[in-house]
Symmetry: C2
Subunit: 540 residues, 2 copies
């Protein structure tokens, strides 16, 4: 093979930090601390502290390839760990603070975390598994009280700032090459054990540059980014890396995730790009309707994790003049897959149709290949109506799970990742998630999308939340059951009212077989509807 | 080493075409044909024809790694070759149609081109070397007259459309991996032989994604791109690849490079991004001042190749309301290195100072590392005044020249490419080229920038072109001599007038020692001032 004569420049995440520090040393990273005050420092401070952190890790005995856990909110210390662990050749392993104790313990032990960095405000949560994670050698606490803490955690307990102060801020990156592992995130499915995605320097570097494309998230130095999506959730969608890469400011909410606090941070820090799940933006919307603030600084309210109801997109754009950008991804995809921005042929559409487009999950960004297949694995057309399982491929998609053979059915023989999402794709490449493969209602040989029914039901003013599950049916195999949380428990809608609301909007055979009204829908550790629990509760 | 578990997805240029065809099959590529009519087809047509072209290449005996020459204007056939040769595992080698015959023959023979695709409108130019390029086995002509042509070219002569019609449009890419060579461009220095940069699939893929970053060129599907920069000049700055990558439309001027024709193409095709050298935009400016057209569609007039005078940037923005984006790169860098867009702290500056910023070559985009060094190789500060040689590094920078040992002094021992440019870099990362190392005037141990003097002189209304060269001086070692082309030959400025014009703008010792007035400044094959000729003509 005739090879090109270009530099063998390794795509490693320390390059991102070097670039950010060299070009934008004075750009700011601001964090809302637990006490509500604002911590503020610049990229150059970050750079020096990351190097200190590398020395700290070496002092703690962390070797290349070792897993370094984090158990923290979104804050500057967590950003330091995003660069520090990989810079020392180790793997930053973000632990989800919302997991059930059994899952948390399983993940820590499966990953064999040698050290865990703990946000002291979350100490009680991790202490629930103290007696199950004896393999962890060190716990390093930050945001703790000055006098130190009492804890039942095993191993050695350290104070982050004490270790940092004692460490040198000169360090040569211990990165061996672009294929070296640098990050680890587990997803907790509703079946089986949590599964770990082990990112490489190459995959995260390419994800960073890919997401900075103008047709993707497209951050620039003119942006101030507020990742509300937790740093323990798919690397905060890669936003900390993307921000450092291009010199965008960072505004980190710390533990202050309440709508009023977020609104204040947006307004005072002139946030231009904010990213979170629909629940967060739903809360912010209601907050802003009550306590109006100027959030016109936002150029993109990025929403992912699950589908944002079209009604909420419309409300944001019409009532608050905020541009909503739907995105979709998965932990297994680092996570960015699609973005929903208007294309040239959408520009002249009436506003209502633009919102229809924006309610879709969007087109795959450059670097992500998509296809949809039926149950036999045959490829299906992109016609906007044919539902099929979404499969993806690309340089930032996992090829196997970490130390797990049972995840093999997630990968096709020809090298694609099976997302488990059932979707349609329009002719112009806009993907819409209609369901998870396991949540589909299979009625009379046809598929009913539980997600679509839920979105429609949540458009009813008297419905706060709606979950649709399949219940067994002798004649049709399965039929949909709607589980409803009323907006006002003292004034719930009736089943007839909801049926009448749905009738003009869906095919007759899609109409739920029944309605159940409850106070709250059970959620998984990542805040999604836990349909496994619902199916157990309502076996039909 | 613990390796990540991400897909081994090879970064190859066929991925870009696959993505463009899958997502944007209906997007248009328009070409102004030699007869002035507009040829128009879509990405899906391009896709099918590229596959045909791969079969054509195999039929002509092209093997993986073979060099396939092109000798053509910017047109759809040339875009087909950009993807077709690499798709067949070969190397697309773009030949500069403006080279002197000896250089052209040298390059064809040095590259060992097996086949050359020739724009028939350029046949007389390549025929000048017909007797020196006997190693070329096939010439394939397009845009030729229907009845075929008479030519003295050696080897077999074919008609492009006849070969394409006979070929199949099904083909499996013959790409072996991301490090495979895919493109070759030579630069003709003023000393020594032309030197070839051999691009790999990986480097061109990464350059494509890198340039699509919002902080770089940032194309999206909403753009229509007009590369006026020739496709034989550093891959038209990678714009054809970037456009296909994100679904931007392409408007290709073919041989119609006159200002009026370009203005018409911009207006009728609603071009949003146009890219070319300052000479082109200078011509377009004067055309638009005489024959006003609506070119408000342009969101970025990208200028590179050499520095755009600040006066012309100001004129475009103030008089025509067109946003100018300075960029800088080199053939050895695929070519994009820097882009000059305003940062957040520039936004509140008075307009005049914004133009000062935009007159700089700009900041390095993510993916490009820069440093400046003195003659001893020591790194110099980024303070906006210290001049040093610019060195670069990155995944799309060459590590050595193709089959050439003598280019070794272009690379440092620690793996950086020496650009040969003398520059300053501001604290906030904006690079300004002050000179080429070989064109600097070294006066009394200090450096005088010939480029800066030229730019100032060209700001004088009576000066059309100005070139400054060093002449030997007994006392000061070297002194500057200004070679002037008056705007109006019948009314030239005097030397005293020019000296008086410069005096308030530069240090006293920078003032030229003398002025020479001529009709035209000799140019190199790429249209730059040929100072070697001037130095021979005015030995001092």
């Amino acid at each position: 093979m005739l090879t090109g004569l270009m530099m063998d420049y390794q795509l490693t995440i320390d390059r991102v930090l070097e670039h950010g520090n060299r070009l934008y040393p004075h750009k700011k990273i601001k964090t809302k601390l637990p006490d509500g005050t604002l911590h503020e420092y610049c990229f150059h401070d970050l750079y020096g502290r990351v190097k200190r952190l590398c020395n700290v890790l070496e002092r703690l005995g962390v070797e290349p390839g070792d897993r370094v856990g984090t158990f923290a909110w979104n804050n500057f210390q967590h950003v330091e760990l995003y660069f520090g662990a990989p810079g020392a050749g180790a793997v930053v392993h973000t632990l989800n603070i919302r997991l059930f104790p059994d899952q948390l313990a399983y993940i820590i032990n499966h990953a064999e975390d040698k050290v865990i960095f703990v946000d002291a405000t979350l100490l009680p949560l991790i202490e629930t598994v103290a007696d199950k994670i004896g393999g962890v050698e060190h716990f390093v606490l930050f945001n703790g009280p000055p006098g130190g803490v009492e804890t039942n955690l095993p191993g050695q307990i350290h104070d982050y700032e004490q270790l940092m102060t004692a460490a040198n801020d000169e360090y040569s990156w211990r990165v061996e090459g672009e294929n070296q592992a640098m990050g680890l995130c587990y997803t907790s499915g509703t079946t089986g054990h949590p599964k770990g995605s082990l990112y490489s320097h190459r995959s995260m570097y390419l994800h960073t540059v890919g997401s900075c494309q103008a047709a993707a998230i497209g951050l620039t130095e003119n942006d101030v980014v507020m990742p509300v999506v937790p740093q323990f959730h798919a690397m905060a969608w890669g936003l900390p890396y993307a921000a450092i890469n291009v010199g965008a400011g960072l505004a980190l909410p710390g533990p202050h995730m309440q709508p009023a606090a977020l609104a204040e941070l947006i307004e005072t820090e002139r946030v231009t790009v904010a990213a979170g799940v629909p629940t967060i933006w739903n809360g912010l919307y209601h907050e802003l309707k009550e306590n109006r603030r100027d959030i016109s600084c936002i150029r993109a309210l990025v929403v992912g994790g699950s589908a944002m109801p079209r009604s909420l997109i419309e409300a944001y754009e019409k009532e608050l003049d905020v541009n909503v950008v739907h995105a979709w991804g998965m932990t297994e995809m680092s996570p960015l897959g699609t973005v929903s921005k208007l294309l040239s042929h959408h520009q002249e559409l009436p506003q209502a149709q633009k919102w229809d487009v924006k309610a879709r999950q969007g087109y795959p960004i450059s670097g992500v290949d998509m296809r949809i297949v039926n149950e036999e694995g045959n490829e299906l057309p992109w016609d906007g109506t044919t539902m099929g399982e979404l499969q993806v491929r690309g340089p930032w998609v996992v090829r196997e799970y970490y130390k797990l053979d049972e995840g093999e059915d997630s990968f096709t023989a020809d090298g694609w990742f099976r997302t488990g999402d059932v979707v349609t794709i329009t002719e112009d490449g806009f993907m819409t998630i209609t369901d998870r493969t396991k949540d589909l209602v299979k009625s009379g040989g046809e598929w009913i999308s539980s997600v679509e029914l839920e979105n429609l039901l949540m458009g009813h003013t008297q419905v706060l939340e709606a979950a649709v599950i399949a219940v067994p049916d002798d004649r049709w195999q399965e039929r949909p059951l709607a589980v409803i949380v009323p907006t006002d428990a003292s004034d719930p809608p009736s089943a007839d009212q909801l049926q009448g609301f749905l009738e003009p909007q869906v095919a007759r055979w899609w109409l739920p077989e029944g309605y159940v009204f409850i106070d709250e829908i059970p959620k998984t550790g990542t805040g999604k509807f836990d349909k496994k629990v619902l199916r157990e509760r309502y076996p039909g």
